[in-house]
C-alpha cells in the first residue's frame, strides 16, 4: 500500500457545545485525489481547517505525512498548499506583491510553478487584489497554493468562483499534480466534476462521516437505475417490487431505482415479460442525494 498522507483517528471538534465534526476516521494515500462531500454546515470546512492547523481538535487526532497534527503543525504546513473556502486575500497588495510575500514565508521552497501558473490562468499580477473580480481572486488563491509544488493540497471549494473554462484548467492541474505523486484533498459541491477527478470520496453529514469509498466502488454497489419496457400490462401486484422503487415513465416503460441487492431485483423482474432493459450506475450526485434522503428519513 502506498504512503499514508492523511490519517485521522476519532478526530473531533466542538465549538463550545455545538458539534463541528465527530470521530472522523479516514485515510488518504499518496497520489490520490480525495473528494470531501457534504452540504453547507456538515463539517467540511472544520475538517480542512484542522488539517492545516487553523483549528485545534477537541479530541482525537490526525497524522499528516506521519507527523502529529498538534506537535508538528509547522513541519506539516511546509508540505501543504491551501485554498480557503472564502478567498479574501491582501486587499492592499498587488497580485505580484501577494505572491512575493507568501513565497517569502516558505524559505527553501521556491515558487517553481509560479510563472507557468500565472500564464495558464491568465492573471494580471500588476493590479491590486482589491481591484480583482472574485474569479481572479480565486485564480490568485490557486496559484499561491500550487506554486511551491506542495506534497499535499488542501482545497476548500476551490472552483466556486471560476468560469467553466478555468474550472477545466483547474481540474487538469489537479490531475497533473496527482500524476506527479502529489495528494489532493478537496471539498466541493460540484459533484459531476468531483466524479471526474476523485479517486475516493468521503461523505459527511451532520459532522459525522457517512461513508468513505472509492468513486468506482460507490457507483457499483450503491444506487443503480434500471429502465425497462414490458410486453404487456402486468397484474398490479407484480409491480410491487421490494428491491426497488418503481415509476412508470410512459406506456409500458418503467424506471426502477434499485436499492441494495441486484439479485433480488432481477428475480422480481423475471416475473414480468420484459422486452427491453437498460441498467445504469448512479452518478455521484444521485448517490450523494440518496445519503441525504436517508438522513431526512432518520429525522424524527
Amino acid at each position: 500500500m502506498s504512503e499514508r498522507v492523511i490519517e485521522t483517528r476519532d478526530l473531533t471538534k466542538y465549538y463550545g457545545k455545538h458539534l463541528g465534526v465527530s470521530q472522523l476516521n479516514f485515510e488518504v494515500h499518496r497520489g490520490e485525489v480525495f473528494g470531501y462531500l457534504g452540504p453547507n454546515g456538515a463539517g467540511k470546512t472544520t475538517t480542512l481547517r484542522m488539517l492545516v492547523g487553523l483549528l485545534v481538535p477537541t479530541s482525537g487526532g490526525a497524522r499528516v505525512f506521519g507527523m502529529d497534527l498538534r506537535k508538528d503543525s509547522l513541519a506539516i504546513r511546509r508540505e501543504i498548499g491551501y485554498i480557503p473556502d472564502d478567498v479574501r486575500l491582501f486587499e492592499d497588495l498587488t497580485g505580484e506583491e501577494t505572491l512575493r510575500l507568501l513565497e517569502s514565508l516558505r524559505p527553501g521552497k521556491p515558487a517553481v510553478f509560479r510563472d507557468e501558473l500565472v500564464e495558464r490562468f491568465d492573471l494580471d499580477l500588476s493590479r491590486k487584489v482589491s481591484e480583482y473580480s472574485s474569479g481572479n481572486k480565486q485564480k490568485l488563491a490557486i496559484i499561491q497554493a500550487f506554486m511551491h509544488d506542495p506534497r499535499l493540497l488542501v482545497l476548500d471549494e476551490p472552483t466556486s468562483a471560476l468560469d467553466p473554462l478555468m474550472r477545466h484548467q483547474f481540474y487538469g492541474l489537479c490531475r497533473e499534480f496527482r500524476e506527479r505523486g502529489r495528494t489532493v484533498f478537496i471539498s466541493s459541491h460540484v459533484l459531476p466534476e468531483m466524479e471526474q477527478i476523485c479517486d475516493w470520496v468521503g461523505i459527511i453529514r451532520r459532522g459525522r462521516l457517512a461513508t468513505v469509498e472509492s468513486v468506482s466502488e460507490l457507483s457499483r454497489k450503491k444506487l443503480r437505475n434500471a429502465d425497462f419496457t414490458l410486453a404487456a400490462e402486468p397484474e398490479a401486484e407484480l409491480l410491487d417490487f421490494k428491491s426497488a422503487n418503481l415509476k412508470r415513465t410512459v406506456g409500458l416503460s418503467f424506471q426502477a431505482e434499485i436499492r441494495g441487492d441486484m439479485d433480488s431485483f432481477i428475480k422480481e423482474l423475471s416475473r414480468l415479460q420484459v422486452t427491453d432493459l437498460q441498467i445504469s450506475h448512479a452518478s455521484l450526485e444521485e448517490i450523494f442525494l440518496e445519503f441525504y434522503r436517508d438522513e431526512e428519513d432518520d429525522r424524527p
Binding site: 465549538y15 481547517r49 492545516v52 492547523g53 487553523l54 483549528l55 485545534v56 509547522l74 513541519a75 504546513r77 511546509r78 501543504i80 491551501y82 480557503p84 473556502d85 472564502d86 478567498v87 479574501r88 486575500l89 491582501f90 486587499e91 492592499d92 497588495l93 510575500l101 507568501l102 517569502s104 514565508l105 516558505r106 499561491q144
Partner: protein, 268 residues
C-alpha cells in the same frame, strides 16, 4: 524572533494611516510651539490659568504646572492629553489590523497556513506596532524641538528626549494591551473599546486620586499614574518606576498576546 517579510508587510499596509497621523501631529506640534512666544507675553493667560480650581488644573496636568514656561504650556496644550490620545488611537488601529481585522478579512488564515509559528506572528505584530509608535513619537516630539529652535522657544532638549521616551513607553504599553485584546476579540470594534476604556479609566482615576485617597491605590496599577510630562521635562532625575511599569506592562501583554493567539481557533 520576528519575521522580516511579515514586518515589512504590516508596516507597509499601515503606511497611509501613518501618513495621516504624521501630518496631524506635525501640524499640531507646529501650531502649539509656534503659538508659545505670543501667548507667553500675554499676562492675562497666566492669570486665567491661575484662577482655575486645583481640581480642574489636575485634570489638565497638575496644579504645579507653570504655563509661562514653554514646558508648562506644551504640557497643557499637547503632551498631557492630546498626544497620548492620538498615539494611542494609532496603536489601537494598528493592533486591531494585525490580528482581529486580519482574521475578518481572511489574510490571517492565509498567513497562518504557511509555515510560520504563531508566536512569531504575535511578536512580529508587537514589533511592527512598536516601530510605528516610535516613528510617530519621534516625529511628534521632533517637530516641537525643531519648531522651538526656529521660533526661539527656550526648551530643554534633554527634557524633550526624556519625555519622548516616556510617552513612547506609555503608548507602547497601551499598544501591547490592545494587541492582546486583538488576539482575543471577535470583532475589531472590541479592540478600540478595550483601548479607549483603559485610557479613559486610567486618566479619570489619576484625576480622582488627587482628591480622594481611595483612588490612589487603584491609580498605582494604571498607566497614567506613571505619566508626568511636565515633571520629566523640568526635573533632573529619571522616573525609573515609570520605565519599569511601562516595560513590564508591554512585555506582559505581549506574552499574553502570544499565548492567546497560540490557543485561538482561526475562524472567519
Amino acid at each position: 524572533m520576528i519575521d522580516p517579510e511579515l514586518l515589512t508587510y504590516q508596516l507597509k499596509a499601515r503606511r497611509r494611516s501613518s501618513l495621516y497621523f504624521s501630518l496631524g501631529l506635525f501640524l499640531w506640534g507646529l501650531l502649539i510651539t509656534a503659538l508659545y512666544p505670543a501667548v507667553s507675553e500675554v499676562e492675562a493667560f497666566s492669570d486665567y490659568w491661575g484662577q482655575f480650581p486645583e481640581n480642574l488644573k489636575n485634570l489638565f496636568g497638575g496644579h504645579e504646572i507653570n504655563i509661562l514656561k514653554p514646558e508648562g504650556f506644551i504640557t497643557l496644550e499637547y503632551y498631557q492629553m492630546f498626544l497620548p490620545i492620538i498615539l494611542a488611537a494609532f496603536a489601537f488601529g494598528f493592533a486591531a489590523f494585525c490580528v482581529v481585522k486580519a482574521r475578518e478579512n481572511g489574510s490571517l488564515e492565509i498567513l497562518l497556513t504557511h509555515p510560520m509559528e504563531r508566536w512569531k506572528y504575535s511578536l512580529t505584530s508587537f514589533f511592527a506596532i512598536s516601530i510605528g509608535l516610535a516613528a510617530l513619537t519621534i516625529l511628534a516630539v521632533g517637530t516641537v524641538m525643531l519648531v522651538s529652535l526656529v521660533f526661539g522657544v527656550d526648551l530643554s532638549y534633554t527634557g524633550q528626549l526624556r519625555f519622548m521616551l516616556l510617552v513612547f513607553l506609555l503608548v507602547l504599553s497601551l499598544g501591547s494591551i490592545s494587541l492582546f485584546a486583538s488576539c482575543v476579540a471577535r470583532k475589531s470594534g472590541q479592540v478600540y473599546a478595550v483601548g479607549i476604556t483603559v485610557l479613559a479609566v486610567a486618566y479619570l482615576v489619576n484625576f480622582l486620586s488627587s482628591t480622594w485617597s481611595f483612588f490612589r491605590y487603584i491609580d498605582y496599577a494604571l498607566p497614567y499614574h506613571y505619566y508626568d510630562p511636565y515633571g520629566i521635562m523640568t526635573t533632573a532625575g529619571f522616573p525609573w518606576s515609570s520605565l519599569f511599569y511601562y516595560l513590564a506592562t508591554s512585555i506582559a501583554f505581549a506574552v499574553l498576546s502570544v499565548i492567546a493567539l497560540q490557543r485561538k481557533d482561526i475562524t472567519v
